[in-house]
């Protein structure tokens, strides 16, 4: 067999084993039909499902609005402080969304009550505890949610009065405000995908439009439709995150199906009911993918990336610059500065003691995230490559996302703590596999639109020139896809660094990740250290991001000069 076919088989098998198997294992082993019919008869469930859909769609739309508009401002205009702003804009992605929710509530002078997530019932717990350690993990996960919510409540001073800067009484406890808060936390995903895609457009295509239309018209009609696939992928990822979010809905007192899933999991240890509840959510994801495919249509998006030179396409007047800056600053202020301020306030700047207590977890997370985000590129690249345009694959890729992370975690234990595979469960590999399982769909989806832009001829010419398949991949495809690979790496790195749900469930002995340590410290009331560590987390992700932004600027300069 050729190396090509081997790679194809390895890519798909690794995906199936890593991502699909644990999830499938969970659903199959806990299947119970009556649990499914019950959902459709219960009015409360239907109401919660509706709320979840509104939350997901609203957040996706608002994130697209915020992410795309800021990407256009930073990529195409002469707005000042560009590179600085493009770093600040992504910070909010690294702050846990519930901190954002809490800081918002205290900003507008609202108290927030403790969550209604159920504490595990100790009797049931001890009964099922013998069951493969699953219960322990579930207890951890439940404790996680309760702690996050309760402890933060303790640290925030109760506010009774309406602050002077709030003109009228705001009622924040509804799905609309939950959408706003979640969007502020998640819009950088759309921003990242859009701005990297815009950078990748051949600038002469915009020139051709500029001969006919004002810059704004050219951007609206030519640039944005060209990056529509990336925008939609961003919206889809946001949607998935929004409907799996627990923290924000509970501080904003919005009942969602996801919270119900969690309650069934950890309150009643009713795994099969919990999984049945996730099926309608999974269905909604499939419907959205279908819709995105209809919108994008069958257009062959063939363009060889030839990087634009970061040229200013849209010159802004003084007032417009001020307006644009004001807009971005306002978004940064509420999405990053406010919650960061609260972390800073709580940290008491106790940096050294925090490092002493938890320096190892920083190294663990760094190692694990770099390891995973680099490794994940290999299967992502080959799956995006071999299954370009294969319809059923579009759905299979997203299959692992249907299960909430708690379910995936339990599935992971089932698969990787089983006779010969037990060595995985006992080491950091179980976390690495968990991250790969969870984030492979995102990196594959991120690479797909970039892959679609490489015309077949580019690769064919390499093969005709006598290059082997591996040579063609390493010499032609991979360099052409550099922007896509960098984007995917960065997104994977960020997702790994901030991952908490799986870490809590799968932590192997002696290997705690940074978010997990932050949570544990919270749990034992060490708010100060955990705030310092949260700030570290932000700093750690911002550094490679800056490096990548600079690297892609440098490579742009390189291609533009060598072209001529």
């Amino acid at each position: 067999m050729s190396s090509r076919s081997w790679l194809k088989i390895i890519a798909i098998t690794s995906f199936l084993i890593l991502s699909v198997l644990p999830v499938a294992y969970m659903y199959v082993s806990s299947f119970n039909l009556s649990r499914y019919t019950w959902i459709f008869e219960d009015v409360r469930q239907q109401h919660m499902f509706e709320t979840t859909m509104i939350l997901g769609l609203g957040t996706a739309l608002l994130c697209i609005l915020l992410g795309v508009s800021i990407a256009v401002l930073l990529e195409y205009t002469d707005i000042p402080f560009k590179s600085c702003l493009s770093v600040l804009v992504i910070v909010s992605l690294l702050i846990p969304p519930y901190i954002m929710g809490i800081s918002f509530l205290s900003f507008i002078g609202k108290n927030w009550v403790t969550s209604e997530i159920k504490e595990p019932n100790p009797e049931v717990a001890s009964m099922v505890r013998r069951d493969r350690g699953i219960t322990n993990s579930a207890m951890n996960a439940a404790a996680l949610q309760n702690t996050l919510l309760n402890k933060t409540a303790v640290t925030m001073p109760p506010v009774q009065q309406k602050p002077w800067y709030i003109p009228y009484n705001i009622d924040p406890y509804n799905v609309q405000w939950a959408i706003v808060i979640l969007s502020l936390a998640l819009f950088p995903i759309v921003f990242l995908l859009t701005s990297f895609a815009l950078r990748n457009i051949d600038e002469r295509m915009i020139d051709a439009a500029l001969l006919l239309r004002k810059p704004l018209g050219a951007i609206w009609r030519v640039s944005l439709p060209m990056v529509l696939p990336q925008i939609l992928v961003g919206g889809l990822i946001v949607y998935i995150f929004a409907i799996s979010e627990l923290g924000v809905p509970s501080v904003m007192r919005v009942d969602t199906t996801t919270m119900e899933v969690f309650n069934h999991f950890t309150g009643f240890f009713d795994i099969s009911q919990a999984l049945a509840l996730t099926v309608p959510l999974a269905f909604s994801i499939a419907v959205l993918i279908l819709a995105a495919q209809l919108i994008i249509g069958k257009k062959p998006f063939f363009t060889v990336p030839s990087a634009a030179e970061g040229r200013v396409i849209l010159k802004l007047g003084k007032a417009q610059k001020a307006l644009g800056l004001g807009y971005i600053f306002a978004v940064i202020a509420v999405s990053s500065a406010m919650p960061l301020g609260i972390l800073l306030y709580n940290s008491g700047l106790a940096v050294l003691p925090a490092l002493e207590k938890a320096g190892d977890s920083i190294l663990n997370s760094l190692f694990l995230s770099i390891f995973c985000s680099t490794l994940i590129l290999v299967p992502s690249f080959f799956i995006a490559y071999f299954y370009k345009g294969v319809k059923w694959m579009d759905y299979l890729i997203l299959a692992p996302l249907i299960a909430p992370s708690a379910a995936l975690g339990i599935g992971m234990i089932g698969v990787w703590n089983n006779g010969y595979t037990a060595f995985v469960y006992g080491s950091f590999l179980v976390l690495a596999f968990g991250y790969l399982a969870r984030f492979l769909p995102f990196t594959i989806k991120t690479l797909e639109p970039f892959m679609a832009q490489v015309p077949a001829s580019v690769e064919e010419s390499g093969r005709l020139a006598g290059a082997s398949f591996t040579k063609t991949v390493s010499g032609i495809l991979a360099p052409l896809l550099k922007p896509g690979l960098l984007t995917a790496w960065l997104i994977a790195f960020i997702l790994c660094m901030r991952e908490l749900d799986l870490s809590v469930m799968l932590t192997p002995p002696g290997f705690q990740t940074l978010p997990n340590r932050i949570f544990t410290l919270y749990h034992y009331g060490d708010i100060r250290t955990s705030s310092v560590l949260s700030l570290f987390l932000v700093a750690i992700v911002v550094v490679p991001y800056i490096a990548i932004v600079f690297m892609s600027n440098a490579s742009k300069w390189h291609t533009s000069n060598s072209k001529k």
């Binding site: 002469r204 020139d207 062959p300």
Partner: protein, 224 residues
């Protein structure tokens, strides 16, 4: 007064002078070929005429109206100059099919949507691509891509048509065909045409006037 006038136009990129004091006069409805080696500043010259690049110094007048003047701080936006351009690698829009390319231009020109289908047919017929409305750039051959790029420029009914190295990537037969295409455009539409090339053969039998550019300077110009 000539139809197009460039007066001492200069442009530098990052301190490196690319076009130096170029002055040119071009009469209405003529075909002018500008010849020069790769890197001599040809593309930059065309881009400055179309308004996509802003010169550092000099003056550009089209049909008696100043579109650029460094002294008087005039700089007419590209979309208001009504200059059509065929880019070197065509720069077709990958997400639009052939018909949509033309429709985009017609819409920008505020042609009512009822009249557009007939015009799309007309321009596709002009480049002998009838019935290819729904083909995307990724589905067209090299010669077809170039003709679509030409049709896109023509649909704009431009006062001036700029062609950046129109022959460089065509084989002999396609090249001959495209020369005929340009001649036809010139006769039927009376457009003023400027094209650049790095090959002196491309001037014969097509251009009325020629200029030679070397290291950003016009070193020779005249009638053919």
């Amino acid at each position: 007064m000539a139809y197009i006038e460039l007066k001492e136009v200069s442009k530098a990129f990052a301190g490196k002078s690319v076009v130096k004091d170029v002055s040119l006069e071009i009469e209405r409805s003529t075909v002018t070929g500008i010849m020069g080696r790769s890197g001599s500043g040809k593309t930059t010259l065309l881009r400055m005429l179309s308004g996509l690049e802003t010169p550092d110094y000099g003056e550009i007048t089209i049909d008696g109206v100043k579109v650029f003047s460094s002294k008087e701080k005039i700089n007419v936006a590209p979309e208001k100059r009504n200059v059509g351009m065929v880019f070197q690698e065509y720069a077709l829009w990958p997400h639009m099919n052939a018909g949509q390319h033309i429709a985009f231009v017609l819409e920008a020109k505020k042609i009512p949507s009822k009249k557009r289908p007939a015009l799309i047919k007309k321009y596709l017929a002009l480049i002998r691509m009838e019935g290819r409305e729904t083909s995307y750039p990724g589905q067209l051959s090299g010669g077809e891509k170039q003709r679509l790029a030409l049709a896109r420029a023509l649909a704009q009914e431009p006062r001036i048509l700029l062609l950046d190295e129109p022959f460089s990537s065509l084989d002999k037969e396609l090249k001959e065909g495209f020369r005929e295409e340009i001649k036809r455009v010139r006769e039927t539409l009376e457009t003023t045409i400027l094209y650049v090339t790095h090959n002196s053969e491309d001037l014969e039998g097509l251009a009325d006037n020629m200029a030679r550019i070397e290291k950003g300077k016009i070193i020779m110009q005249g009638r053919l």
